[in-house]
Symmetry: C2
Subunit: 436 residues, 2 copies
C-alpha cells in the first residue's frame, strides 16, 4: 500500500522540468516503500480503534488519533472542521433462518442494511418472492408481493473487468429495494450481498426509504452470496418455504463529529487549494482498512513525505479526512460549503476510496483537455506500473466541490479483490498487503 | 486468476483483422470470468493433492490428475513424456534455536534449503558470523569463518517495483552461500528468507554445492525474516551467542517422472509449434498454488477455451506441464531435447510462472523487432488492463528451447505479493483470488 500513496503525491510534485519530476517521483517511491508511515497508521486505525461508523466511539477516536498524528508532522495548520452526522446503530446481532417446513430450519448469514429500521422484536417470518430487479416488482404487482419478503438476487456481473461497474449495475437493489418493495406491501427485504465471490459474509451498505411515510418503512437486510444461492435453490424446489429474520438496528439522534484537515500553505497562491483525501468513517462490521482507512493514511503520508523532502508548494495543499461518507456524505458537503463561504479557490481534489490494492492509475472528472494533459504524464509513471489516466469518476467526498473549473480525480487501484471485502466483516488489515 | 489465463490465450487467437481479434478477446475474457475451469482444477491440485516436489507422491498424483483432466478435454493428443528427476526429501521437521547464554534459548523458524545435506543427528551448534554478501566472506577470511555458521542477511531491496528484480539481487546467498562458506571452513549456513515482508515463514528453494567435493558439503537452511532480524539484533548485542540447528533432509536416488503434454494439431503447419505452459512440480512446504499450480491450470484452460470456441489453429498448439523446474529443470531440458530430435519447429513458447495475481502483461525474450510488433497489440489488451509488452525474461522451463528464431515469452502478473508466498508454507490456495 505504501507504494500507492506515492502515486498520490505526484500530482503535487510535478515541476516544469521533466528531469526533476522523474527524480522527485523516484525519491517519493523509494521513501514510501522503505520508510512509509501509512501502514503503521492503518494498523492503529484498524486494530487499536477498529470500525468507525459515523457517530460511534470508533469514529470519535479516529478523529482524535489522526488529528494527533498530523499535529506531529509539522504541517502549517491542522484542525477539526465540525460536522453534524447521523447516528445509526446495529444493536444486537441479526438472526435469520430459512424454514423449509414447520420446525425445520437452516440458518443464514445476514446483516441489516445501514439506515434500515429494525424488525419487530419477534422478527419477521414470511414467504419469499425472489426477483432479479426493481422493475420486476411492477410485473408481479401487489397481489404477488403483499405480505411477503422480497428477495433481490441479481448478482454482480462477473465478466466486467472494472468491478466498480459491476457494483454500479447492482447496487440499486440495496439502495432502493426496500423503498420499492414497500410500495407493493412487502413486509421485509433481503438483498444478495454486493460481492463477486461466493462466501459467507453479508455485506452492509446504505439504503434509503426516500420520501416514503415512516409508517411504510420495512426492514431491509443483506444476505451472504452463499446463502443467497441456497435460498434461491430452495425456492426453486418449493415456493412455500419461509424466511425469518430479526434485526435490532435504529436511527438515533444526530451527533457532533468532524472532518480532520491538515495543510501546507502555498508560497505564491495561498488561496488556491489542492486537496487529497479519503473518508475516516467506515461501516461497522469490519475495521474499514480498505474502505477507507487506506485512503486516509495514504493521503496523510503523501503530505508527510512532501514536507519531508522539503517541497515548498506554490499552492496550498490540504489533506482532508472526511467524516460520514458511508451514510450521509455530510463531511464532504460541509467541507465544500465552508470552502465556498470562505471563497477558497479549489483547483484540484484527489480522492482515494477504492481500497488499498496495487495502483493502476487515475480517473479524472474534468475537461477532456485536462485528461489529455494528464496523459502526457504517463511516461513518468510507467516505471511504477501506473498506466491508467482516463476520464471518469473522482470520488463521493470531493463531489460537492464540483464546479466548472475544479479538477476532480480518483485514485484507481486494481479492483479485482475490492468487493470481496467491501462493507463486510472481512474488510480487515490482514487483507491489505503493505507493498500494495 | 481466471482473468489472467485469457490473456495467455490471446497469442494464439490473434487473427488478421483487428475487429475479429477484439471480438475473440472479449469472448475469451468473458468465458474465463464466468465459466473458467482453472480455479477448480487448482483447488484439486492444491487441496486434494498438495505439495508436488519432484519425485514425491504428490508429483506423481499431479501427473495422473492433469493427464486425466486433459484427456477429458478432447484435445487431439494427450501424453506423458518421460523424465528422470532428482528426489530430495526433507525428512523430519527442522529444529533451531539461538542460545544467548548456556541453557537460555530462543526458538527460530527455519527450513532446509532444497539440495542441502542434513546436519549430523545431534545437530550443529556454533557461533554465528553475519554477512551481507558472498563477497564479504573473502574480506573476513578463513580465520573469522572457520568453525562458525555463516548467516547471510542481505534483505530484498524494498524500493524495486519489480520484486523479481529484488529477488535476483539476493538469491545468490541462497544458491551459492553454502558452497562459498564451505571454502572458508564454515560448519553451516543460515540464509535470510527471500521475502519482502517480515513474518515467521521460512522460504526454501534450490541451492548448489557446485563442484565442491562431497566431503566439504555443509548443511544450509533458510530462516524466517522475523527471526533473521532477531538473530541480527542479538548478534549486535553479543557476538558470542550460538545458533543450533538440526535438519534431516537427504538426496535419494533419481526416479521416473513425466512432463504432461496436450496438443491441438495445426491445420496448415502442423510441424510448427506454439507452447504454453507452467511447471507441475512445486516445493514441499506449501501446496504450490502460486508456484506454479496457477501457471499449469491457466495453460490448460487456455487450450480448453480455444477448443471450446471452435478455434482451428494453423499451427500446432501445445500445453506443456513441465516437471522438476524447482530443483533440476529436467523437464524443460528433456522437452527441448525431444523437440530437437523430432525436428519440431518451435516458433513461440509462453510460460506462466510468476504467480496467480492480477495480469499486467508479457515480457519477451526475442528480437527487438518482435517486441515492437507485440506492442502493436497493446490497444487490444488495454480494455483488460494489460499494459506491459516489454523485452525481458521468458521462463526457466522454456529456456532450453532457445535458439535464434523462437520467441520466448513470460506472462507478467502483478509482482507485489509474490514473495510473501514463494517457496513457503503459505503458498496456498486461500492466497489466490479467483478473479485475479
Amino acid at each position: 500500500m505504501k507504494y500507492t500513496l506515492i502515486a498520490l503525491t505526484l500530482f503535487f510534485s510535478l515541476q516544469s522540468s521533466a528531469q526533476t519530476d522523474a527524480e522527485i517521483l523516484k525519491t517519493l517511491y523509494s521513501k514510501s516503500l522503505t520508510e512509509g508511515k501509512s501502514y503503521s497508521w492503518l494498523d492503529h486505525l484498524s486494530n487499536q480503534i477498529g470500525a468507525r461508523l459515523s457517530g460511534s466511539l470508533g469514529a470519535e477516536q479516529a478523529v482524535d488519533y489522526t488529528k494527533t498524528e498530523m499535529d506531529k508532522l509539522g504541517f502549517d495548520k491542522v484542525w477539526l472542521q465540525p460536522v453534524v452526522v447521523p447516528r445509526w446503530v446495529r444493536g444486537a446481532p441479526e438472526f435469520a433462518y430459512i424454514e423449509t417446513s414447520p420446525g425445520k430450519t437452516i440458518s443464514v448469514n445476514i446483516c441489516a442494511l445501514g439506515g434500515s429500521i429494525a424488525t419487530p422484536n419477534a422478527g419477521v417470518k414470511a414467504n419469499v418472492v425472489e426477483v432479479k430487479s426493481l422493475h420486476e416488482l411492477e410485473t408481479l404487482g401487489r397481489e404477488k408481493i403483499e405480505g411477503n419478503i422480497v428477495f433481490y438476487n441479481r448478482p454482480m456481473q462477473a465478466d466486467l473487468i472494472n468491478t466498480f461497474e459491476a457494483y454500479g449495475g447492482c447496487v440499486d437493489q440495496r439502495g432502493y429495494g426496500a423503498r420499492e418493495a414497500a410500495k407493493y406491501g412487502a413486509v421485509g427485504v433481503m438483498v444478495r450481498s454486493m460481492n463477486l465471490r461466493l462466501d459467507d459474509f453479508p455485506h452492509t451498505g446504505a439504503m434509503s426509504y426516500g420520501d416514503l411515510p415512516t409508517s411504510q418503512y420495512i426492514p431491509a437486510a443483506a444476505i451472504s452470496t452463499n446463502d443467497a444461492e441456497k435460498l434461491s435453490a430452495l425456492l426453486s424446489l418449493n415456493k412455500n418455504i419461509k424466511l425469518f429474520f430479526r434485526q435490532n438496528c435504529q436511527q438515533l439522534k444526530d451527533v457532533q463529529s468532524y472532518n480532520v484537515i491538515g495543510e501546507i500553505k502555498g508560497s505564491e497562491f495561498p488561496n488556491e487549494y489542492i486537496v487529497v483525501g479519503g473518508h475516516l468513517d467506515s461501516w461497522d462490521l469490519g475495521d474499514g482498512s480498505h474502505d477507507d482507512g487506506a485512503g486516509c493514511v495514504q493521503s496523510m503520508d503523501a503530505l508527510r513525505m512532501l514536507k519531508d523532502i522539503g517541497y515548498k508548494p506554490k499552492r496550498t495543499i490540504r489533506v482532508v479526512l472526511f467524516m460520514n461518507e458511508e451514510n450521509g456524505l455530510r463531511g464532504g458537503i460541509e467541507y465544500a460549503k465552508v470552502a465556498k463561504e470562505k471563497r477558497e479557490n479549489h483547483i484540484f481534489a484527489l480522492e482515494s476510496d477504492s481500497g488499498g490494492f496495487t495502483p493502476r492509475g487515475f480517473s479524472f472528472d474534468s475537461s477532456d483537455a485536462f485528461v489529455t494533459k494528464a496523459q502526457q504524464w504517463k511516461s513518468l509513471f510507467e516505471p511504477y506500473n501506473i498506466h491508467l489516466f482516463q476520464k471518469g469518476y473522482g470520488g463521493a467526498d470531493i463531489g460537492p466541490l464540483k464546479n466548472e473549473t475544479i479538477i476532480l480525480a480518483g485514485f484507481v487501484p486494481d479492483s479485482q479483490r475490492y468487493f470481496d471485502h467491501h462493507h463486510a466483516a472481512n474488510d480487515a488489515l490482514k487483507h491489505i498487503n503493505k507493498r500494495e
